[in-house]
Amino acid sequence: MRFETKQVPDATPAVRAVGVGKTFGRRAKAVDAVAGVDLTIAAGEFVSLIGPSGCGKSTLMRLIADLDAPTAGTLEVFGRSPRTARLEQDYGIAFQQAGLLPWRSVVQNIALPLELHGVPYAERAERAEQLADLVGLADFRDHRPDQLSGGMQQRVAIARALAEKPRLLLMDEPFGALDEMTRERMQAELARIVARTGAAVVFVTHSIPEAVFLSDRVVVMSPRPGRITAEVEVPLGAERAEMLRESPEFFRTVSEVREALHGAPVGRANER
């Protein structure tokens, strides 16, 4: 089966942000949601954005997705403007809510982006079947969203994000609404899927173990104004299996991210 992504020149980073800022409102009411963000994400790299509520991690993701425009700095996605990248379908996106269209079946939801871009019926049906299979929903292909559990809906959303074979996946707390067990299973599945597709990922979360388990690099942000305060490399290798969660490296990195997040020794951070 074909799950490869579009070809990308090796040296071009998936995301390059220099001094990016976003201010909402004007004058006295102005709020700096994001300020002075410098960030480069290599092609195929998995990067998590982590931080407390209001630290601008979702805003930063929306800027990359061209759902909002930055008010300062320059932002490039695969060397072009975010707008061009959006129109060229360089990225796939998934949110905390699955956001499936309730009147469409599983495969119709997955095929929606392809349908909008004029992919012929037979081709998009085949692709949607493959993706439904990839996320383990082949038996539910004709079900409607209201007949699926939350985890299944989220898997459909991920399959839909992969429909255009994007080189970049943008995910805003995609597992935030799921229970802990479903969540861990989904993380393992996402790790497997991303390994197969080779896409770069920007993953917004406020779960430290989730960020560490999935990422090559964890970017820690803090609020008012939203900015990057630390970056933690995750030395867990390319293969992410369940067993990693019990490894000393995993715990060490979790502690490291937690310290960076709270700007304090581990002992105090553990009180929470």
């Binding site: 269209l101 909008l116 007949q147 939350g150």
Partner: protein
């Protein structure tokens, strides 16, 4: 069993109305009840209970029996003429509903697209419904005649259809506006992330999402169109339909009290057909009426 229950209650409801009618006719005072009447002055005082005689309140079975009789030698049986009139009124109502649907959805589309248009137009749409139909109908009829004189064919029934559409477009415009604005921010963002333009967002998201709002609006619009058609027929004097028939037969009510109930039943039937057609449409579109399950 579950599915039959609403029907059972519906039949019980209709029977209850018949029972109340007959019960009052049986037990109520023969001369009704009039408050503050002045002796020897006909029509004075305030009537709060109607007379129960056969002239004022014919038996329900007499009303139905009358449907099976003709209007004198050589005329068709009553139910046949009622059905013929019903066909005309139903057709006019349907055309009125279609005009109302087109106008209502068009207004909703421009209001949804441009906020400023909504601010500008919506108050006028609301005000339009406060104009009484009987004041408005002759104006439409006169405009129709003028257009007809100018050389563009404008039959009388078209004026009635326009009057019907005047009542029908209002709930449709309001319902469609709410429906078009109903998609959540996440869905709008998603379509934007796919680079979908206004037309695609409309076809793939806004129109399907507005079905649950459009169907009840359409049911209101359909029944309003029937009322508009009947009243419109009366006020511009269009022959052939139920509206004129009700007025004509009411004039013979003193001699034949059960007679005018024929076309009244006809009007009820048109309303039921209108509401039933929308319900049928709802069955066809049932996939668009699913609420999205929350995780």
């Amino acid at each position: 069993m579950r599915r039959a229950l609403p029907w059972v209650w519906g039949v019980i409801g209709v029977l209850a109305v018949v029972a109340i009618w007959e019960l009052y006719k049986w037990l109520g005072p023969a001369d009704g009840l009039v408050l503050g009447a002045i002796q020897g002055q006909a029509g004075s005082g305030l009537r709060i209970l109607p007379r129960t005689g056969d002239l004022n309140m014919p038996h329900v079975w007499d009303m139905f029996a009358r449907l099976g009789q003709d209007n004198g030698a050589g005329t068709p049986v009553l139910w046949v003429s009622v059905l013929a009139a019903l066909g005309i009124t139903l057709g006019i109502s349907a055309i009125g509903l279609v005009i109302g649907l087109v106008v209502g959805v068009a207004l909703a589309l421009v209001m949804q697209r441009w906020r400023i248009v909504e601010w500008g137009i919506l108050p006028w749409i609301v005000v339009s419904q406060t104009v009484p139909l009987i004041a408005f109908a002759p104006i439409i009829a006169r405009m129709g005649t003028q257009i007809d004189k100018a050389g563009v064919a404008w039959p009388g029934w078209l004026s009635v259809a326009v009057i019907a559409s005047y009542l029908a477009f209002f709930p449709i415009a309001v319902g469609a506006l709410r429906g078009l604005g109903s998609p959540e921010a996440i869905h709008v963002d998603l379509l934007r992330s796919y680079g979908a333009g206004y037309g695609q967002t409309l076809r793939k998201l806004r129109l399907p999402a507005s079905v649950p709002y459009l169907l009840p609006a359409l049911r209101l619009g359909a029944t309003s169109a029937v009322v508009g058609a009947v009243v419109g027929e009366v006020s511009i004097g269009l022959p052939g339909g139920l509206g004129r028939m009700i007025i004509q037969l009411a004039q013979s009510a003193s001699a034949d009290p059960a007679l005018p109930y024929g076309p009244i039943f006809g009007a009820v039937l048109v309303g039921l057909i209108a509401a039933g057609s929308v319900a049928l449409l709802g069955l066809i579109l049932k996939n668009y009426r699913r609420g999205e399950a929350v995780a």
